[in-house]
């Protein structure tokens, strides 16, 4: 099943298949290791629900839901 990162539940894992968007934000996501093929896991959400924290390439990364919306992952059913 495919879904975007912002709809993930805590503890959910997936493999990135696509990074949408454009310009600096997308570039930054690539630079931080958010590229197709990488495994990502949603670790937690901030107390107010946004931003979110994921584990990717062995480290913790935080991003806003707005940016997470651009990242599509494949999740095991």
């Amino acid at each position: 099943m495919e879904k975007t990162l912002d709809t993930f539940k805590i503890g959910e894992k997936g493999v990135i298949i696509k990074v949408n968007g454009e310009g600096v934000t997308r570039r930054r996501l690539f630079d931080m290791g958010v590229t197709p093929g990488a495994n990502a896991k949603l670790v937690k959400k901030a107390p107010l629900g946004d931003p979110i924290e994921i584990t990717i390439r062995n480290y913790e990364l935080t991003l806003r839901k707005n940016e997470a919306k651009q990242v599509t992952l494949k999740v095991e059913d």
Binding site: V24, R27, R28, A46, E53, Y59, E67
Partner: protein, 782 residues
């Protein structure tokens, strides 16, 4: 001398390695034009030529996303260091090597320092350095910047490599982009560019700097793209290259890394199976600190203790809770230091207040002795006053902030270095995004309640220049501890004279007004001079670790050194000017102020400053403390000017004039135990200022140009040319805020006029922005 640059990810231990290599020779400045730390130092070893070392800012990539990345990239391209040490966090190889793959494309010798090797060993992981070195084609050396003292083997290799020339290499040569890279590279070489490989790959990535400079060559890339189609990525070359970099790291470098597998269960002595706790210690700490329910509460508690330990007069409220009610002890009674450490009357002072009291006691003593000495030497009274009141008092009043600034710095550096500050940004981002800044901006703002100076310096942790500028501009609105006397004295005098309200409530209300003004100002800035998208928030949350004592000290020392230097230069001169203005008449007669008031019949009322005050007084008429106040009304105007030295001076100016206005009929007779309140009350009586006028005066002083020390800090922290606009911004904001408070407070119906004006302003900003966007779109499309 050989020049070596350190490059690497943030939190890779780069600065720790730099400190270990350079020791005391390090010095910190700014990169030209931007406020990013520029650290330089020398590596010295007996029998060898010293090596100059420059610490490039921590970066994740060489694409121009942050000023740090542009600096690092330009430094290597333009300054051509003899060698680059790429510091790599061995516990996080995958992401760290991403930067390495880009550095390798540059024509510069590279040595990889595999840092935090001690942690890797502790985790029982293994790294095969030879395999890694072979895959990357450059030397790889394990180091532990935190534990080791001897880096001679690393520097030996650096020395050897520096003497060689190295041409950039790329992992793309094994891909189907190789032909394109070679073609573009050829075009760059024809133009005689250095670092042709690096430039050509950046251009293929569609890098904005590269495109701007070589739009013609970029057409070749576009041509290639139109005939290119990858299965997964289509013709998105930027994505393909990023993907290839990570693929290379996974395929070529992971083989050198062997992760130790923790068994899921351990068997204890009695033979029972026990599940091994999941996650590292850092993960478990994080679970508590960023907990959905307790996260915010823990944060508030931490903040309370930081402020309490720095500014608290009654440590842990022991006195208020009645801990000393039955004792009667004063330590050091009868000495100069009476009751400093402890007195049952006032309780225990917090470390910040204690240090300040000691420092002030010491500097007061110096001033006194110098005064006595000058008298004995036969110096004239004005020369004496110039040295004691003008020079010494000026410097010392600025220096008296130092202990608390230092402590505040220390606490916030601990929070920063430990990794907690990143979590604070994570927790609060949701709230602050609405005002056009990220969660990170909260810390400097809240520090503003203590002192604007460390607060402004702390804005360096913010991601973009725009966010930094906006934050620095609103920091003074978070009323600092020096502004508190203005609030309490005016509130106290108002309550006693007019018999309205409650002094504490008025004070609190003024704090609230400051915060509201800050929020409005942020919103206005966001839609006028500092326009643009809210910057993206994509940030690493580094693992928690204990901050290192020596690097903390170095950090705090750097900031303090900077501050003290300013105290003796720009701040000293500014203070001196104001002193001269208030101590001389326009015909250069000295106004002598002794223990019993004015000596020669001349008063501050005759000073140059008073004359200037009288000239600018009408300017404050819309704010309620201008021409309508009559003869002594200029004091309010002048109070605002002397407040520039230090905000404490606002009330001190009132006190100085107390002696003058006391002779005015109907003035006097108010005694208050709030410091300065009786002076303010006398001025209120002498000028017949109304309550809205006083409130407008307080708000004006709270939000106008801060003290010289803070202005000097803002100058250092803002990018070139931004200070002038910032000062104008402060003036306009305070003027508008004061005017609204006075008008609406005096004639309630003016609220409608104010609302109409605000509505008109909002509408016109909206339309101006729309027109601007349209214009911007047109130029883009052409």
């Amino acid at each position: 001398m050989i020049r070596v640059a350190l490059a690497g990810n943030p939190n890779s231990g780069k600065t720790t390695l730099f400190n270990a290599l350079t020791g005391s020779s390090a010095h910190v400045g700014n990169w030209p034009g931007v406020t990013v730390d520029k650290r330089e130092g020398e590596y010295k070893r007996k029998g060898y030529e010293p090596i100059s070392i420059i610490d490039l800012p921590g970066i994740y990539s060489l694409s121009p996303y942050t000023p740090e990345e542009v600096i690092s990239r330009n430094y290597i391209i333009d300054e051509k260091p003899d060698c680059v040490i790429n510091v790599v966090d061995a516990t996080n190889l995958e992401r760290n090597l991403y930067l390495t793959t880009q550095l390798l494309e540059m024509d510069v010798p590279i040595v990889i320092a595999l840092n935090m090797i001690d942690v890797v060993k502790k985790n029982k992981d293994e790294i095969n350095y030879n395999k890694l070195s072979k895959a990357l084609g450059v030397p790889v050396l394990p180091v532990s910047a935190l534990k080791e003292k001897d880096f001679s083997s690393l520097m030996q290799v650096v020395n050897e490599e520096a003497s060689k020339k190295r041409k950039g290499t790329t992992l793309l040569e094994k891909t189907n982009l190789n032909d394109l890279v070679n073609e573009i590279k050829g075009l760059y070489e024809e133009k005689g560019e250095n670092n042709s490989l690096f430039h050509s790959i950046k251009l293929i990535e569609g890098d904005s700097i590269e495109r701007k400079n070589h739009e013609k060559i970029y057409q070749k890339v576009e041509e290639f793209k139109s005939n290119f189609n990858d299965e997964t990525f289509g013709n998105d070359l930027e994505a393909i290259i990023a993907d290839e970099r990570y693929k290379f790291i996974q395929e070529e470098c992971s083989i050198s890394f062997k992760k130790h597998q923790e068994p899921e269960y351990i068997v204890d002595k009695k033979g029972r199976k026990k599940k091994v706790k999941e996650g590292t210690i850092s993960d478990r700490i994080d679970k508590v600190l960023t907990n959905r329910i307790f996260g915010l509460i823990i944060f508030v508690v931490i903040l309370f203790f930081v402020f309490h330990l720095t500014f608290g007069e009654d440590l842990f409220y022991l006195k208020a809770m009645g801990a000393f009610n039955n004792t009667d002890v004063t330590l050091g009674a009868g000495t100069t230091w009476e009751g400093i450490l402890f007195s049952s009357g006032t309780g225990i002072q917090s470390p910040g207040v204690l240090l300040q009291t000691i420092l002030v006691g010491f500097t007061d003593f110096i001033t006194e002795q110098v005064g006595i000495g000058l008298d004995l030497a036969g110096a004239s009274s004005w020369a004496n006053a110039l040295i004691c009141d003008g020079i010494l008092a000026g410097i010392f009043s600025v220096l008296s902030f130092l202990p608390q600034i230092l402590l505040l710095f220390l606490f916030f550096s601990i929070l920063e270095d430990s990794g907690y500050m990143a979590r604070v940004a994570f927790i609060l981002d949701r709230i602050f995004r609405r005002f056009g800044v990220s969660g990170r901006a909260f810390m400097p703002m809240i520090m503003g309640f203590g002192c604007s100076i460390p607060a402004m310096t702390n804005t360096r942790t913010l991601a973009t220049d725009r966010e930094r500028t906006a934050t620095i501009r609103v920091i003074p609105f978070f009323s600092c501890s020096a502004k508190l006397p203005i609030l309490t004295a005016c509130a106290g005098a108002t309550v006693t004279l007019f018999g309205v309200g409650n002094a504490d409530l008025i004070t609190l209300g003024m704090y609230g007004a400051g915060i509201i003004i800050a929020i409005i100002a942020l919103l206005v800035l966001r839609s006028t001079t500092l326009r643009g998208e809210t910057p993206p928030f994509i940030m690493e949350l580094p693992a928690y670790h204990w901050p290192k004592f020596s690097s903390l000290m170095l950090h705090v020392w750097d900031k303090c050194k900077h501050f003290v230097k300013k105290a003796f230069t720009i701040i000293l001169v500014s203070n001196l000017v104001i002193w001269v203005l208030q101590s001389f008449t326009p015909s250069w007669q000295y106004i002598e102020y002794g223990d019993d008031g004015f000596v020669t019949g001349l008063t501050t009322n005759d000073s140059i400053l008073a004359n200037i005050g009288k000239i600018i007084q009408p300017l404050f008429t819309p704010l309620g403390f201008g021409s309508q106040l009559g003869t002594f009304g200029w004091v309010f105007a002048v109070g605002a000017i002397t407040g520039l030295i230090a905000k404490e001076n606002v009330i001190a100016t009132f006190a100085m004039l107390g002696a003058v206005v006391a002779s005015v009929p109907g003035v006097g007779g108010i005694v208050s135990d709030i410091e300065g309140a009786s002076d303010v009350a006398m001025m209120i009586q002498a000028t017949n200022i109304n309550i809205p006028g006083i409130l407008a005066f307080v708000v004006f002083n709270m939000t106008t140009i801060p003290c010289f020390a803070a202005v000097a800090t803002a100058k250092a922290e803002l990018n070139k040319g931004k200070l002038k606009n910032t000062i104008v911004f402060w003036l306009i904001t305070s003027y508008i805020a004061g005017t609204i408070i006075y008008l609406v407070g005096t004639w309630w119906w003016t609220v409608f006029i104010v609302l109409v004006v605000i509505a008109l302003a909002i509408v016109s900003i909206h339309f101006i922005n729309k027109a601007r966007d349209k214009k911007a779109n047109l130029t883009l499309n052409n």
